[in-house]
């Protein structure tokens, strides 16, 4: 009983079949037939104010849920505006399906109005991409796109659909199987390697888990926790992995890397076994590669075979879904425990003691002042209010690093940031996506005064959908991170980093029909945050913080992570 539908209707049927409950987009000329079909459809469309923010919102949705985030844009400028978000989701392995309109088939290649070679432009920005050439291919391609986006190492898939395909009518035959002969999805790891890893885990005297975004992508947090509890393994979580292990867990240390904690970086440097789970030995974590974990054997579990031995050659490589591998590994670790645990119990207790000592001696710096709000003070206050449970999205820069350092996350999928690409303007739109995904959650969009000004148009989206997002602007009047580097590495020649005009937060919010305020005295901060949280709708809190505060610890570019700069240094 095939139905006769047009391409636009078939697309919406396919989205419904993929359980898409909402998608983010912006209409245009060639997507008119799609938006016409949408008029009668129940799949919810969220109208953003800029296509770039449609991807960011879809990413916020995907990062908060693990489901595929969907966005839509028209041809030409609509499609090119998606690029930043596509690359962002590629870098952070976020499942996204992007639908773009294309000019009608007979016009392709004629430099038609709003034509761009979207297929060609997005090839290196996506895990895979398609251009639909025949209506009968449309359902297959849409379902393949969701399958590819969400399986293996997740990533963005773009489907470019010409206007005449949206309009063409045909029989809609639901697709029941997908056949992708070249697409490989690793599942369980090699049993012999897993056994070897389990033995090494007990034999190690100074073991350390180095867990990343792969744990979150694989929904493997509870499996990670089982292993950590079973073998009492000290653990660090990367920027992408915050919340993979609860921040309050006794074995959790903190974040390693360029702005990681003293203990996390020293633990890596002194460990004799690094258990790398869903990480890619990114340069922001490793610093100088040759000096990274110099004394450690490495077990590396990753679903992407190309990550194994890309930057560091492991002693035990395991290609597989980290969830399945952890389940199998924990079983063998438990089996070996009675025989192997006693031999290393004493040195391991000493190791944990050493780590605890470092954590006491070198916690993150939390300076306060009577006259100015220190950024660290702001993050500590947000941490107190969140208590490890709120969703926090950020832009990129100093506020992102202080948030990552000082705000606890006791569950995965609470910490949402642009890690690999480092895209400014990510915080507010991703908060919109996250709040759609989790209407029950308190969502903070912590942004800098620079990044916020890149996403101001989305205030309208937030207000029109009634999303109670709490926007916290950490306002230091500068592009803080760039300024910090100019101060430290460019003789303090501050070039084009002063942002000397910022809108009045109260008036700006009022202009959009919601509430906002500015706070600049440390004594007023807690009360201002309380007001923001008690407000049933959205709130814009502009927090004037110390202008020239720097993020520490800091590993200078090219240095070993053990060579952290811990405290402010004199300007060169």
């Amino acid at each position: 009983m095939a139905q006769i539908l047009n391409g636009a209707q078939i697309l919406l049927e396919c989205l419904a079949k993929e359980n898409v409950d909402c998608f983010f987009g912006y209409p245009g000329g060639v997507t008119l037939p799609l938006y016409d079909a949408l008029y009668d459809h129940t799949v919810k469309h969220v109208l953003v104010r800029h296509e770039e923010n449609a991807v960011f919102a879809a990413e916020g949705y995907a990062r908060a849920t693990g489901k595929v985030g969907v966005c839509c844009a028209t041809s030409g400028p609509g499609a090119t505006n998606l690029i930043t978000g596509l690359v962002d989701s590629m870098m952070d392995s976020i499942p996204i399906v992007a639908i773009t309109g294309q000019v009608s088939s007979h016009l392709i290649g004629s430099d038609a109005f709003q034509e761009a070679d979207t297929f060609g432009i997005t090839r290196p920005c996506t895990k895979h991409n398609y251009m639909v050439q025949r209506l009968e291919d449309l359902p297959r391609i849409i379902h393949e796109a969701f399958y590819i986006a969400s399986t293996g190492r997740p990533g963005p898939v773009l489907v470019d659909i010409p206007k005449d395909i949206f309009q063409a009518k045909g029989e809609y035959k639901p697709v029941t199987t997908i056949h992708l002969p070249g697409y490989k999805v690793p599942t369980g790891g090699d049993a012999a390697q897993i056994r070897r890893a389990a033995e090494m885990i007990w034999q190690a005297e100074r073991p350390l888990i180095y867990a990343g975004g792969g744990i979150i992508a694989a929904n493997a947090s509870s499996q990670l926790r089982e292993l950590v509890d079973l073998a009492a393994l000290p653990s660090v979580c990367t920027l992408m992995g915050l919340g993979a292990l609860p921040a309050d867990h006794p074995q959790y240390i903190s974040m390693p890397g360029m702005h990681g904690s003293y203990t996390a970086n020293m633990a890596i440097t002194e460990s004799d076994l690094l258990i790398a789970l869903g990480v890619r030995f990114d340069d922001r974590v490793t610093g100088k590669l040759a000096a990274f974990a110099p004394n450690a054997k490495v077990i590396h579990v990753d679903i992407d075979p190309a990550e194994i031995a890309k930057n560091r050659t492991p002693d035990v490589p395991i290609v597989g879904d980290v969830k399945h591998v952890l389940e199998a590994l924990t079983k063998v670790v438990a089996e070996l425990k009675p025989a192997l645990q006693p031999a290393t119990a004493a040195p391991r207790a000493a190791w944990q003691g050493k780590l605890n000592g470092w954590m006491r001696q070198h916690p993150y710096d939390r300076p306060t002042s009577n006259t100015e709000i220190k950024p660290q003070h702001l993050m500590s206050e947000i941490d107190r209010l969140s208590a490890g449970e709120a969703i926090v999205t950020t832009d990129v820069g100093q506020h992102q690093m202080w948030s990552a350092q000082l705000i606890r996350f006791n569950e995965p999928r609470l910490w949402i940031n642009s890690g690999g690409l480092g895209a400014m303007g990510f915080g507010l739109p991703s908060a919109i996506g996250a709040q759609f995904a989790r209407p029950d959650k308190l969502v903070f969009a912590i942004v800098g005064d620079g990044g916020f000004q890149m996403s101001i148009p989305e205030l309208a989206t937030m207000v029109s959908y009634g999303l109670p997002i709490k926007i916290i602007v950490m306002n230091n009047g500068h592009l803080g991170m760039v300024r910090q580097w100019q101060e430290l590495f460019y003789h303090n020649r501050l070039s084009q980093v002063k942002l000397d005009c910022f809108p009045d937060a109260e008036k700006l919010a009022a202009a959009y029909g919601f509430k906002g305020s500015t706070v600049s005295k440390p004594g007023d901060l807690a009360a201002a945050l309380d007001v923001a949280i008690r407000e049933p709708g959205p709130y814009l809190l502009n927090v004037m913080v110390t202008q020239f505060e720097n993020v520490y610890p800091m590993v200078p570019a090219g240095a070993a992570i053990s060579e952290m700069v811990l405290t402010p240094v004199a300007v060169a």
């Binding site: 009668d40 129940t42 919810k44 090839r123 639901p174 075979p305 190309a306």
Partner: protein, 188 residues
């Protein structure tokens, strides 16, 4: 250092672009590339010669295998594969060396595909290194024009031609969409 890669790829739009784009994005220079359909008309075989540091050879193969349309990418080396290239060469020797040119051509196993008072068109296949020598010899006689096909290779290891099972196939189970998730209200 040169690396010869054999890639079995689905005949899909943009497949060539994906493979070459991957190489250029990582800064690898393509020395030669050939592509043609296999016995199965849905698949093509590419042979690519890339200039890439030896320590990155494995990484290149892994990255290729990640492409959705690539069924298999394999490294071809001299010991486990036969690597050949063809060239077409036009030479205009002066009359007194025509016989010598033909003699040399014969030694390299070249075929004469065109002969005129002007000169010869020669066709020769062989290992890329041997062909370099051939070109060098021919150049010593006269001006030449050369077109090279780029290398093609076939593996001598049977297992390298076999695909890794299982080929992933996903079966759909139609699920009803929960009403509360969709609120049932059309966007109008």
């Amino acid at each position: 250092m040169q690396q010869v890669i054999s890639v079995l790829v689905e005949n899909q739009p943009g497949a060539l672009l994906r493979v070459t784009g991957l190489l250029s994005a990582r800064g690898y220079n393509i020395e030669s590339l050939t592509v043609a359909r296999t016995i199965d008309p849905e698949l093509s075989r590419m042979t690519i010669v890339v200039d890439v540091e030896e320590r990155l050879h494995v990484q290149v193969i892994k990255q290729m295998n990640k492409l959705v349309n690539v069924l298999q990418a394999t490294e071809m080396s001299g010991e486990t594969a036969v690597i050949r290239e063809m060239i077409l060469l036009h030479i205009r020797p002066s009359h007194h060396v025509r016989a010598a040119v033909l003699k040399e051509a014969e030694m390299f196993g070249a075929r004469i595909v065109d002969s005129s008072t002007d000169g010869f068109a020669l066709e020769v296949t062989g290992e890329p290194g041997t062909l370099e020598e051939f070109i060098g010899v021919m150049k010593s006689y006269s001006e030449i024009e050369v077109t090279r096909s780029g290398a093609i290779a076939v593996s001598l290891e049977a297992r390298k031609l076999r695909l890794q099972p299982p080929v992933p196939t996903r079966t759909f189970v139609r699920t009803e969409i929960p009403v509360e998730e969709m609120d049932g209200v059309p966007n109008a």
